[in-house]
């Protein structure tokens, strides 16, 4: 009788230990998955920062060309910037937050500038030249701002949250 009870208790003990070990293994696996997701998120945010840094540099070049009146270079740079910005928005949409609409507005500006310059890059009115300078300046400001925002999030470790 005593032997039988002991056998029952030891069986129960083994069962509880097994359950505990399973729960521990599940917790470890969940933790590892979360850590992997955090690391992936951090890398993606860093990539977004690198891409927007490159876009901001392109926008600075474009603004410089417009300031210097180098319209053929400006036209080429506008086309590059337009396609690169479209790609960056598509790839990093999840990190752009409230700035997404502002970036889309700048994308539209670039489309209108590209069309306008392709039609008449050497025949701009004085108002159009001033407006172009304003547009490229605003694009630079938004892209540099977005890059700064992403950089500070990477530095604050937002990717690890």
């Amino acid at each position: 009788m005593i032997l039988h009870d002991l056998f029952d208790w030891s069986n129960a003990g083994v069962g509880v230990t097994g359950l505990g070990l399973t729960l521990w293994a599940v917790a470890q696996a969940t933790g590892a998955k979360t850590a992997a997701e955090r690391a992936e998120n951090s890398i993606r945010r860093h990539n977004a920062e690198v891409d927007f840094d490159s876009l901001a540099r392109m926008a600075k070049e474009l603004h410089g060309y417009v300031e210097d009146g180098r319209m053929s270079e400006a036209r080429l740079r506008t086309t590059d910037l337009r396609s690169e910005l479209a790609l960056a928005i598509r790839q990093h949409k999840v990190f752009l937050g409230n700035q997404l609409i502002s970036l889309k507005e700048k994308q539209l500006d670039l489309k209108l500038v590209t069309d306008g310059l392709n039609r008449k890059s050497n025949d701009l009115s004085q108002t159009e030249r001033v407006r172009l300078l304003g547009i490229t300046g605003a694009i630079l400001e938004v892209l540099a701002g977005q890059c700064g925002e992403l950089r500070s999030e990477v530095e604050r470790g937002r990717g690890y949250e």
Binding site: A86, I101, E128
Partner: protein, 118 residues
């Protein structure tokens, strides 16, 4: 296509008059643009000399709808009915967009005050 374009332009006129759309200047002279709040659609209206343009773009900036009508079409009688209506509607929308984008009413009110104060 003209039917759809006319419908969109009339809707844009209505929403602009209700103050539900925000217009800003485009790149070229006489060009104004607006984005819907979620940025999924954009509209561009332009009166360039004798030609009126209307354009609708999707969120990838692809042109979905493009209409250009020159006044010569109207004068020669080539354009009729809805095309004439579209020309006039684009004209009206362009004026509304310009008024809002350049804050014309506010600036005129300021000018009146400034002149009265002299």
């Amino acid at each position: 296509m003209n039917d759809q374009a006319l419908g969109f332009v009339n809707q844009l006129i209505e929403k602009t008059e209700q103050g539900k759309l925000s217009w800003s200047t485009g790149f070229e002279d006489g060009q104004y643009k607006t984005l819907l709040p979620d940025g999924k659609l954009a509209f561009v209206v332009q009166v360039n000399g004798s030609t009126n343009h209307f354009m609708m773009l999707d969120d990838k900036q692809e042109v979905i709808l493009l209409e250009s009508i020159d006044i010569d079409e109207l004068n020669c009688g080539i354009a009729r009915g809805k095309r004439v209506a579209l020309y006039n509607a684009i004209d009206q929308l362009n004026k509304l967009a310009r008024t809002q984008a350049l804050h014309v009413n506010e600036k005129l009110a300021d000018a009146e005050k400034m002149l009265a104060a002299i």
